[in-house]
Point group: C2
Chain length 156, copies 2
């Protein structure tokens, strides 16, 4: 299957699952060695999980399928440009490539906050819409100190 | 309990669960009406889930506890400044307030990529480390067109 085939499958998934009242109109696939190893679609409203975006669901499924938190040699196909949450997940998973169809501006036209989040995240903490503060910063180092002292730690 | 009490609980969770080989040194709580309704800790390496950061786990748990994808009147306490994935999740969940202890620079000193991701996400797509391309952008609008035509859609 070609990149276009995988993408059409992701787009179809977005429409089909949304029409089945699963959530917003988003679909995603993880492809490993030219084979789809997981599918994801938005399930925020049906599963009451604000993190259940198509890409997150697909990434979690692929990690389970491969038995690894590192999705080496995996490509993420998604019907819409990943939001910052999902882009962050793709980086943590270490996918090889990200291929998307609709843009964050299309998502905005559909009523979703992706573009807003891209504006919001790089801002200084004190300028963000959700009030955010640092507290006990010095005590917050303790878990890292214990981590660095742990000789058998699994760095990722 | 005071903000400091909640934060010390999150920090303690980070150390305890990391020492129990759950994953990286991160802990988080969701507080609703002055009560802890969920706890989360990093489980990336123990559960083979690259999205299982402390905040994501805590947010999913709180949404389950409240039976809602919208965490209104909920505060997120986390032992370390949320990475872009987790900050995005906090915004999608609509938490009221984010309180963190260690900074993204502390996380970098501990060997984690949070600061790198904050640098990476605002970049133009073509300048990012993971190759990212748009494909079939016009066809990608179809799920949104179907969404906007769906009269009983649940916008979030």
């Amino acid at each position: 299957m070609s990149d276009e085939d995988f993408m059409r499958q992701a787009i179809q998934l977005a429409t089909t699952q949304m029409l089945a009242d699963q959530g917003g109109p988003f679909g995603a696939l993880i492809v490993h060695e030219s084979r789809v190893i997981s599918e994801g679609w938005n399930q925020v409203t049906s599963s009451n999980d604000p993190t259940a975006h198509a890409e997150i669901v697909a990434i979690r499924g692929a990690a389970e399928a491969l038995g690894s938190y590192a999705l080496a040699d995996c490509d993420l196909f998604t019907s819409c440009e990943p939001c910052p949450m999902c882009l962050g997940a793709a980086y943590w998973a270490g996918v090889r490539r990200i291929v998307f169809a609709a843009s964050r501006q299309d998502a905005a036209k559909g009523g979703f906050s992706d573009e807003f989040l891209y504006q919001e995240l790089p801002k200084a903490i004190e300028d963000r819409q959700i009030p955010t503060i640092q507290l006990l910063g010095t005590e917050g180092w303790a878990p890292f100190a214990a981590w660095l002292a742990k000789e058998d730690r699994i760095q990722y």
